[in-house]
Symmetry: D2
Subunit: 358 residues, 4 copies
């Protein structure tokens, strides 16, 4: 018996990525789609169609005809109790209103930021901090909910925290500096990134992005202490930029570690990371979490983003950093709308279902 699932915010880029990943899913069956009142009452395909007749479906995977024909419901009126699980992919403001309603009765796995910084809410990355699931019981109890809300992080945090975790565990971390070169899809579709702004250009600022990355990374690598999470102590400093790339964020990372380690040791720590998690055999899991390339020209977003269904974090250029104590530096590529959003959330949900939380 599959779990029944609703996708809220189904018309946006992140919502579409949920629907691109759900056809034929062994655990989850989509039974409802919801979005803003503007889309409510239309068939999903019609809701994606703009005034000029273009179907604004952005995924490479085709739109499944079953989903195309579903009637979109009004998210504000959707009753979470109708399903076993709610995926939300809406803007933060909408999530702040909608997610508590659904969570009264139903587990909510979200790509929105609204609840990420609440004391009783874990921000899950698969294979990194799923032990933070101990907070779910706390959250239910404190809020009097039968369900709960667990967001995934900002898409730029995902690859960073994923690659820092094995270093943190093995060698400790003192400080982290990161510059991102982010894909256009991260900005969504309304309005998204205009071509006039990004062709032959770099935009050196993405509002609120750096603060999210800095704070979320510390929380994700933190420890559950009683009824909350004590964030990791090391500071993170980020500069987030937009580049003319369709999908996948590239990040140049500099880490000062607590203990000295050779490049080989750090490479080995990354490569062997997450084997236990991968061994669970969850449907959306990659065969390994992190690849470290020896080719100095890799990773590249266009060449590496679709490996393992967009669920692999591709690292490379791992080398000593001489400006920081016990410093290493590397480059990573992480698919922002796969592992960094909907498919990452789905993998989280698969884990939570396996653990009996859903």
């Amino acid at each position: 018996m599959k779990k029944t699932v609703a996708v809220i915010g189904a018309t946006g880029v992140a919502g579409q990525q949920f629907l691109a990943a759900l056809p034929g899913h062994p655990l989850f069956e989509v039974v409802a789609l919801a979005a803003s009142p503007r889309s409510a009452g239309k068939r999903y395909r019609d809701a994606l169609t703009d005034q000029s007749g273009a179907v604004r479906w952005y995924c490479q995977e085709p739109l499944h005809p079953d989903f195309a024909a579903l009637e979109v419901e009004d998210a504000a009126r959707f009753d979470g109790a109708r399903v076993d699980l709610v995926f939300t992919a809406v803007e933060s403001e909408a999530a702040a209103e909608l997610e508590p309603r659904y969570a009264k009765t139903t587990p909510v796995v979200s790509t929105a930021s609204a609840f990420r910084y609440e004391a009783d809410v874990p921000i899950f990355i698969p294979g990194v901090n799923l032990d933070h699931d101990r907070l779910i019981a706390v959250q239910k109890k404190q809020r009097g909910w039968k369900g709960f809300v667990t967001p995934v992080p900002n898409c730029t945090t995902t690859g960073l925290a994923m690659t820092l975790k094995p270093l943190y565990d093995a060698f400790g971390i003192r400080q982290v500096i990161m510059t991102s070169l982010q894909a256009c899809s991260g900005a969504g579709r309304t309005p998204g990134v205009m071509s006039l702004d990004i062709i032959d250009n770099v935009v050196p600022y993405i509002p609120k992005e750096e603060e999210k990355v800095e704070k979320e990374t510390q929380k994700i690598l933190g420890r559950v202490m009683g009824e909350t999470i004590e964030p990791a102590a090391f500071p993170v400093s980020a500069t987030c930029t937009r580049v003319p790339v369709l999908e996948a964020h590239t990040e140049a990372v500099y880490v000062s570690m607590e203990r000295a380690a050779s490049v080989d040791d750090v490479t080995q720590a990354m490569r062997s990371f997450g084997q236990d998690f991968v061994a669970l055999g969850l449907p959306s899991a990659p065969s390994r979490l992190i690849d470290v390339s020896d080719d100095p020209f890799r990773p590249q977003p266009r060449l590496d983003r679709d490996r393992e269904g967009g669920m692999l974090t591709a690292a490379g250029r791992l080398r000593r950093d001489h400006a920081l104590p016990n410093g290493v530096k590397y480059v990573l590529v992480s698919h922002n709308t796969k592992m960094g959003a909907a498919k990452g959330a789905m993998l989280v949900a698969e884990y939570l279902a396996m653990q009996g939380h859903i």
Copy 2:
């Protein structure tokens, strides 16, 4: 009376930039062009024409008809003594052979890296370290040359050293971390960056670039001590990437300073930097060396690269960095083929001419 000038390596991207900037120059008059034997004997325009008939002139400025009609000479046979000044814009290997020959009789201002790391050779950036010109006498004496060789730095170093200099002078520097997002023109034209490699992509590695940036920055910010330069002591760590941008390098910089300073103080130090130099009124000089924008979305390479004829370093996003002691971080845009190459070399030459070195 203008100084007579030869441009060596005239057919490459950097050589073309010299020619784009020289028409009507008040101090310099081009009397000879030279390149490889393959181009020798052809008129310059013909030498730029490929087998399919395309004229491979890459500058926005039109090719001046006087230069188009000049016969290209063989660089290996060119006699430097025929001119007052030689601009070289050739690959490093060729420069290693050619520049000492010319320098026996004639001053050589170069965009090549061949001599940058020699003890008696200053790497000039206009307004930053022109006092290193004291080494010119040392170089002449030690090598028995009537002329000399003074290279400009790698194009990625230019913006970095330019913006670090006012911080170094005012507050001291402990360590520097920099990630670059470099334009395609930096790779020249043979073969340059292939469209298949860079459309919808980032290439996270540029061979030898990071080492150059790290070493050159220290030397440029160093002090003349006797017959050589003592490099600045702070470490520089760089990650150099290529992005789908035609012109101008973007750099995200993180600086740990010796002394604490407010964002306002640092901004002020950058904005007021180089006033004495600018006051000299040299023909290719911008009206100020560094602009610091308050608009968080600036600088952008497409919007800021052509300001002040490509000779301005555009900075922005200046803010505290909490991961480094006394940390500040910012983003800069510097035109890699204008101030970062030929026009920067020309401005150096203007200064050297004014000082009587040429």
Copy 3:
């Protein structure tokens, strides 16, 4: 004494292009800016600033501080009688409402399509059909206006009609086929072309564009007959596509002529076109209307769009077409937001002012 001018729709891409071209204009002085109620009451610079703080000014020319500080008025309440001339750069629906109001008292030169297909309204292209100005008196009389409305054509029509006119006059035209490769700026800014839609892609459809090009070309090359324009009889067939180019439309044109003509004759007809118009010395006029390149790799939008201030139509690849009777084919590049929009409208207005219509 300069004519006083209002720019309506000042915040859009076309409106900005008017403002980019008007500083220091010898004939026109901007005294009012107007836009939608959302912008009304704000200073112009603030009206361009989006919620994230970005100033959405899209022109390469800097925003003139005088305009930045002007208060934007509500276009619906703007009284045309306050100025000598109104430039409108609004969407078609808004133009249908606003332009007749202004025209009651004041000449209106417009980039909008609302009135293009009215019997008593000429669609002006500078140097091509300014003799259609005889319709202005008809329009005033029929509508009882003191002013009038004269739109410029769709930006894709401009280069096509410009290059067809000399062929039509010299050799006659039987039929025209044209495929366009249009720049992203043609779609404006709200929402414009999304980067997700156009990077590494071509979009083969632009709603309503082909019909406009086909109909407008016939009207522009038509003759004033009594109180209307009899359109040229030859059919025009267009396919309009969007490509990842920022500015300037490229068009591949195939023409079947009434009379046979050599490639040299056709080239000559284009090159010598418009000399009388150019000789008028209007402020925004280029030194010639059409250039025909012999380099087979030209025209290119990035290299040719800014020649003569974006007011030159660059043609090339002129050769025989063997599929059509008396066939010739060529490629043209025309700057869609300069000659094809605001600056073209300004040049029209300069002519109309010279003729005493304004």
Copy 4:
């Protein structure tokens, strides 16, 4: 028993595409790779590695380790008799020399143009003109070869001839006009299309391309008459341009037909085309040859190129053309390095093997 196969020109873009498609092929087994002397003697992976260490493998499919380890042979010394079939993917000049040598003993299926215009050589497109295989016996007899040479067309011809064929058969064709918007991969890798030439740009000329398209289309749609092919009589006029797209050519096509036909009839003719061929069930065949979209925004190269493994020709925007007698016009997208090159050649070879020619 699989047929043994050699790939000549294995290091180029087209050669790589052969290798991307051959792993696990049910009929063909690669036993030899050959290229220029520069690559000879190296392992294939090393031969692809440039001086900076980058592995210049351009296919999305990974490089199969078996191929990576194969030693590249010198094409000039390769003995065709060692294999059952030779795929050649070299430049035309090299093909002119090499292919006759191999063909003395062995069938050669080629992507090169060297033999396309010989009287006894058919240019095959799968499903379009495979009945031209009657010329193979003629060719063998006339040249005294045991093998033969059959090239596939220029990649721009493929989609055009594919979509014209059903119209030609059903309604007759009088004349064809076509403008292409071609991908960068069509120019290969040495030097290919430079990023400096194509970012934010269109290049309106591809040397020799238009002549190829015009001539090949007529030959492919011609009839075998005795010992040669009588080309189709209708003229074809092409303008071939390059756009900033990685893969897949877009073409805007205008056709004047002998007999009037409705848009529905033409659509139906395209959609039902090639069913017999597809029914053969050849390993590389798509499930249908041509799709005609009703969505006016399709086809788009990025969205449609990979459908059916790059073997589908995606058409759309099918509508009446009023400039030509019995005119229709449409847009097509065809994958230039899949169906338009190596995979198309492979599908041809599969057919020839089935027919006993190999």
